[in-house]
Symmetry: C2
Amino acid sequence: MALVLHHYWRSSASWRVRWALALKELPWQSRALDIVKGEHRSPEFMGVRSPISHVPCLEIDGRPLTESVAILEWLEETYPTPALYPRDPWMRARCRQLVELVNAGTQPLQNLIVLDAISHEPAARGAWAARWLDRGLTAYEHALATIAGERGAASSGPHSLGAQLTAADIFLVPQLPNARRFGVDMAKFPRICEAEAAALATEACGSTAPEKWQPTE
Amino acid sequence: MALVLHHYWRSSASWRVRWALALKELPWQSRALDIVKGEHRSPEFMGVRSPISHVPCLEIDGRPLTESVAILEWLEETYPTPALYPRDPWMRARCRQLVELVNAGTQPLQNLIVLDAISHEPAARGAWAARWLDRGLTAYEHALATIAGERGAASSGPHSLGAQLTAADIFLVPQLPNARRFGVDMAKFPRICEAEAAALATEACGSTAPEKWQPTE
């Protein structure tokens, strides 16, 4: 299949999809959009590719699919190896719970379009973003403790769900640069920081990180 | 399995789970929480059941699972019939895209805790909620047109993905009372209204609607 990814280097959701494609070792063409310049609002992109004019958008044999959750689940069903979701149904439910704590519970409340609606004053934007990032990461850290308790403490790390990196990590880690940028106290989240360090040590995570896709000009 | 649902009668995400349980014809015990009275912030509920202190929370043999997407996907994998997601992998991707347009793209921006952070003044709260509801439903309506185009116009309705009601409808329909409450012009969304009417005509949707769970005292 021909895969074309429309993405923005700094977008956390774009990083999720770049990372998943790297883990699945799938070749893809890059179409970089600069959302700060409004390139995602062009008539061509709005009309054809993305109903909410969001990156990322994965074109699959010419058919545009948005929403990173839908993209990752489609990749998993189409290219099952290596797995991004646990095999065990209960752990898969836990994985999807963690994914949504980021995707629905955290990211939407601190993205660019919402910050623009809150204020054009940096301190007010930062306070708003930090509030929701702190709340989302608190929920995530708490969920990790619940899950570790279910599984026995010995198997709690290093990744979100134990020894195997999963979709939960792919959603968590790209959120964390924003948390630091807005001054969230990461010392409150030791398990999150452990999972982040374990992910950043892997090739697929590092090679798809925002700084690797930042335009040089 | 013993299923206990912690829910709030008026919460759209609670309706999603009540509806899915009804479609699967699963027996469940009801634990009603009043989030306006802060019952979801009690130490017992925060500590044991829900990391972000959100309803709904489905207790499955005593294990608490939050996030309605994770709950519906778990129900689907554990009790596959009747199916809430299409069998075809591409249509399943489209279904999950629609689910996330509501779950991540719309609902989080207009829920109670966010409105409380925006303003205590009704007009300001309403304008904020209407803005994001209108944007989310515009994206959903646009996605329905894209999907109908892929499938051929003859099979575009009545439900979001055609003849079969799916998880997409289960996320869409509970969002619409809020859209009306905040004055969104629903005449702009004819396909959404068609899908809503088709869903409301079904037993499982109507019997799980908020008004059926509103406390009588």
